[in-house]
Amino acid sequence: MLFFLVIQYSNSQIIKGTILDSNGNPVTANILIKKPQTPQLIYQFTTTDSRGDYFVKLKEPLDSIIIAVTSYAHETDEKHLKILKNSETITLDFKLQTRITALKEVVITDTKKIIRKKDTLVYDSEKFKDGSEKVVEDLLKKLPGIKISENGEIKFNGKSIKKMLLDGDDLFDNQYIVGSKNMDAALLDKVEVIEKYSENSLLKGIYDSEDVAINLKLKKGKSEFSGNSKLGLGYKNKYDFNTTGIIINAKIKGFGVATYNNVGLNNSPYDFYSNNVSFEDLKENNSTARSLINQGNFYSPLEDKFHRINKTFYSSFNSLYKLSKKTILKVNVGIYDDQLSRNNKEETTITANNETFTFNQSENNIKSPKLYDGNIHIENKEREKLHWEYSGKLKYQEIKFVSNSINESLKQDNQITSINQYAKHHFNLTKKISDKSAFTSKTNFIKSSAPQQFILSPGISIDENDDTFIQQNNQDSRFDKITFSSTSNYLHTFNSFTWQVQAGFFSIQNKLKSLLRTVSENEQTFSDIDYSNDLKYNLNFPFLKTNWSYNKNKIGLRINLESQYFTINIEDFIKQKTIFENKMIVSPSLQFIYKFSQNTQINSSYSFNQNAPMENNLFEGIIQTGYRSFINNEFNLGFLKTHAYGINFNYNDLYHQNRLSIQLQHNQRDNNYFIRSLINNETSTTTAFLLNNGNQDYSATVNAEKYIHSLRSTFEFNTRYSISYTKNSINATEIRDIVSRNILLDFSMRIKLDKNTFLENKSYYMYYATVVQGGNENRFGSLKNALKLVYNLDKRIKTATVLNFISPDLSVDNNYLFLDTEITFSSKNKKIEYSLIGRNLTNNKNFETISISDFSRSISSHNLINRFVIVSVGFRF
């Protein structure tokens, strides 16, 4: 319906009226004013009130308008209005007809593909930077939810990340810490956390992986090549050099790093120093051949930066080539070379069998590891429903260890050479069967060998009938390991749950050959059958795994069942025996989660594990692992059976700034390995044996945090109490029952003093006591306190000072004070950064600590990195 009306012209034009439906009831409607020249555009609009009245005052005088009345329940009515003369108000009523033809039913979807980012969290990295961060890891630490473990492993909400991508490409493969510990944080634009990350795009929508990946998005507009360089020179003779380069273009991505330092730093994925599992080992540990001979003790309760005396060279190059749109080739190579040194001294008192004796030992160690690591990876996604990838790894490492040891009064030279060769082939295939099902298969072939040679001179006799001078002990030991595994997965998704069946086959072949020879003064070689091993240990097992999970409202339940059928074959060529055994193993696990509320949940779990003996639990021939230590086992093919129970309670109230978590854990072992030790002034021999009389342990952990606003302070409290029951035998005693108790308390307080000043105090107390049933008790306590002050002079000058107080044994008055400080200054354009670092300014030379067991008490000391000051300049290019 279209009306032409002629109405008088006005200076302020007002149009009003009432809008009713065909029954005379008021209608809620929109009144649209359009200009006749542009009828597709709304010039002005208004809506009716509850009586159906409307009122429009035109923004400027118009001589002609279109007035349209729309309502979702009524047909649109439109009138053409010509305004002729002055008139204050025009009244225009409408009577709308009920919409007979309802709005056409439509479904309109966007045709262009929207990248779904629903499982991605994106951090704008600029917002987290305060100028103190140098490498990517420093920045990641600050992002909520992300934590970095001591070995460099990155965790998001407690879960280890699978990959660290660079602009979406997996440049670093398994060794992402090459990037996280070396890449310049300034390059980053955004950090994305991808939950449910799946490397396999074919599985999208079929299987939600639980994996998490981090994607580093680089700043755009950077040139194709960029990098940074750091030069640090210190007093005395301290160096810290570091250069990284990064190249990014459409076809190639590359990242390279070269570093050298002797200030205690390690930016590589490898670790030849601490007792921590290195990042590299974390990935390859189960398939690597073992080494039994010790190469020096580098343990210390202090942080590495105080005592890691090193000359570390590390270089790595990582590159990724896009051979075609869907085929990628990656090459990663790494070289590591180090010289680690340490001087240890130890006095040990043994109390067993109603006798007490003390012995002294000292050792000056130099450990020189060399490592070459090469990785290649090809992935092919050319075909729509079938993807494959191959990756290969070759690693060679050689550790030369030399030391001068003094055992009681015997001075000895130790020379140990350890080689480890590792080759891995991995093939992965994914076939998409339909939109709801897929098949994947993974095949691994890994070969590793670890020959070791230990020359000790002068040696010690292993022949009871011979007490002549022994010129040399020659211990050879070599493990070989071949692992073949093939796993197939069939995935099928129904509307609400995924059904997954995993079947596979494992074959593990272990070989151990060892021989100890002594060379007497007249160059005669002696060896004993008890000091040699020639053992083959093969395990073959097919397995089948099923998962069930149930999640509804407040309750979650998970049940896993794994069954394995073992075929075990052992050949001992020394004892001329062969064992062949079959075994069926079922390992169930159960998890139950109950959510009380948004903030509170409880999680309880039970699992029963049965593990086949490891290759280092089976050899019977004695192996010399140090100048005074020997080990072997009593043969037993029993599987280790552990029942693990756990309850976790979590309460986290962000609103009231309270956090509490309580964990209770209990392990009940049906059987376990125990140690029989024979210790005298000159030697210690330990024999591990499996006993069907198991043991158990209990632990309770409490973590709490509270923020009090009136004090601007955060208080954090962590405590752990554990008690464990075990057994051993010392110097031919009967098997004894031992109870050990351990208490850890740690309390920290953080205060924001003002905008530029932050203060933190952390106290840490540890108590350990161990009692032999019906016998003596050993105990000790230690205390650490760290006070940290961060003061930022302005945006470009920042200082941090840490004062550590350590009392390693509270029963004696022997305390340490460490002072470290750091000042950084950055240029205006952030291209150049200067820093001044002072380490161990209180100049502690040695550190003495105590360790105890149920039968021993040792006081040991080791040297430290001397006081030094280093000035460094960093450039970005």
């Binding site: 729309t70 979702y72 009920t98 979807t109 949940q601 956090r659």
Partner: protein, 238 residues
């Protein structure tokens, strides 16, 4: 005869009403805490009332971790809008404590411009709005003659298919990627009928207290993981 037809139509439209269902791709960048969230949101309405739902549930895996900052909501945040009386009732949290908020909105003072663009085949016209400290740009279409839109928005003579805002505090966008109009017998229920409601001003006061606290709470690196100043709405102006 005509009467009967009219009656029939009334009856017909009573039993079955037409509803719109719009899926938006929603990205929120809380600039001052550097967190970007991307998820889908859904608007379902019949012209009188509507529910706008932000789909956090599907976007997060249920990590049972203590320092998880993803928002494990029981239900998705839902905005129940009474379009004519300009009341929006919704559930929002401050540091994971949830409140049901009743917001009596002022009349939106939309300014219509002559810019247009095509979204999903609909010709949309641009309108701008200053609301609680932020500037918003939206595109709406009269071809879908419902006066509604995502989040708290309404009051234009048509459906809003795109809404964006960008300033120093936050940037966000809601872009329609699916429009569905259909007859249904389902009616839209107010999910907050039994709720304990607080006013918008009350919510604002609580937010300010918690914001101040969060800025002084430090972690061991000397870094404060403070709350943001607000995202879609700016709560903190200092």
């Amino acid at each position: 005869m005509f009467k009967y037809i009219a009656l029939l139509i009334t009856f017909f439209s009573f039993a079955q009403n037409q509803q719109y269902h719009i899926v938006y791709d929603y990205t929120l960048n809380s600039k001052d805490i550097g967190l970007i969230t991307n998820l889908k949101s859904y608007l379902t309405g019949d012209g009188k009332t509507s529910i706008y739902e932000e789909d956090f549930m599907k976007s997060k895996s249920q990590t049972a971790d203590d320092n998880s900052f993803s928002i494990p909501t029981k239900n998705n945040p839902a905005f129940f809008k009474e379009i004519h009386s300009k009341i929006v009732t919704y559930n929002d949290h401050i540091q994971m404590k949830f409140f049901d908020v009743k917001d009596n909105l002022p009349s939106f003072d939309w300014e219509i411009t002559s810019e247009t663009k095509n979204i999903l085949g609909y010709t949309c016209q641009k309108a701008i709005l200053r609301f609680r400290g932020r500037d918003y740009t939206v595109y709406f279409t009269t071809d879908i003659p419902y006066s509604d839109g995502p989040w708290k928005f309404s009051g234009l003579p048509g459906m809003i298919l795109e809404a964006t805002s960008d300033d120093e505090a936050a940037a966000y966008s809601m872009l329609a990627e699916k429009v569905e109009l259909k007859e249904t017998t389902n009616s839209i229920q107010n999910p907050y009928l039994k709720s304990n409601l607080i006013s918008y001003q009350n919510y604002l006061d609580k937010y300010k207290v918690k914001y101040d606290e969060s800025r002084s709470r430090m972690d061991t690196n000397g870094y404060s993981r403070g709350m943001n100043k607000g995202a879609k709405e700016v709560y903190i102006t200092y």
